[in-house]
Symmetry: C2
Subunit: 111 residues, 2 copies
DNA sequence: AATGTTTATCGCAAATAAACGATAATTATT
DNA sequence: AATAATTATCGTTTATTTGCGATAAACATT
């Protein structure tokens, strides 16, 4: 894309919130998180069975969540055990709850 | 992209949450929401001044937020007055808070 | 040493997103 | 009717995302 020359910089909170939102911007990834919360722990294979997607695709979605810090994987050869990263999860929850707690007037653009 | 033949269907809540998350997945859009909450109401032009982006780009970000239902525009020729759509905003907030309220065990994958 | 199991990564194709400038649309004012 | 002001939309370019199959990597078991 035609990018602006100067790299725009945002507040740290803004960047962080957007990053978490991006990780959650695909329904499959929401499902993965819900599944992980329910199971508390699972292997990639469990998710591949659970989701109607190719193994490589599921692995990629897991990577997105990993990169955002929302989940963690522990090697248990040859499997990988995934779970929600509680610390970052709580941090994300806090950011979103603060964001939605912004005081917003009950207007419809002064209608 | 090579899409799966069968269109995947997700829970309604899952789709909705992902849609909101996607709308918030860009730092500029987070900034716009914050600005709107502060100002309560503003015109496209105000945001174009506020943001270091071209008018057409700002307009596009506004469209994303509009399409997701998070903001509403009222015509006040030749300007357009934008504000946060309180009803949908509250709905989104509820969905996120429920999502992050999922019971998650404090594990690091059984480490 | 060879095999099997599981998962990540690579390489590709198609779709979508992000940015821009240019143009169209809308309405008030002249 | 023409002009000015404001904003949305169009067309283009480039980057990123989503999906897949194929392959590589890691380790246990045979």
């Amino acid at each position: 894309m035609k990018r602006t020359i100067v790299s725009l910089d945002y507040e740290k909170d803004t960047e962080e919130l957007a990053r978490y939102a991006k990780a959650l911007s695909h329904p499959t990834r929401i499902k993965i998180i819900r599944y992980l919360a329910e199971q508390s722990v699972c292997f990639t294979g469990d998710l591949v069975e659970y989701l109607p997607l190719a193994q490589s695709t599921v692995s990629q979605h897991l990577k997105e969540l990993r990169d955002a810090g929302l989940i963690t994987g522990k090697v248990d050869p040859p499997k990988i055990e995934y779970c929600i990263n509680k610390e970052n999860w709580d941090n994300a929850g806090k950011l979103f709850s603060e964001f939605f707690a912004l005081p917003v007037k009950n207007n419809k653009c002064s209608i």
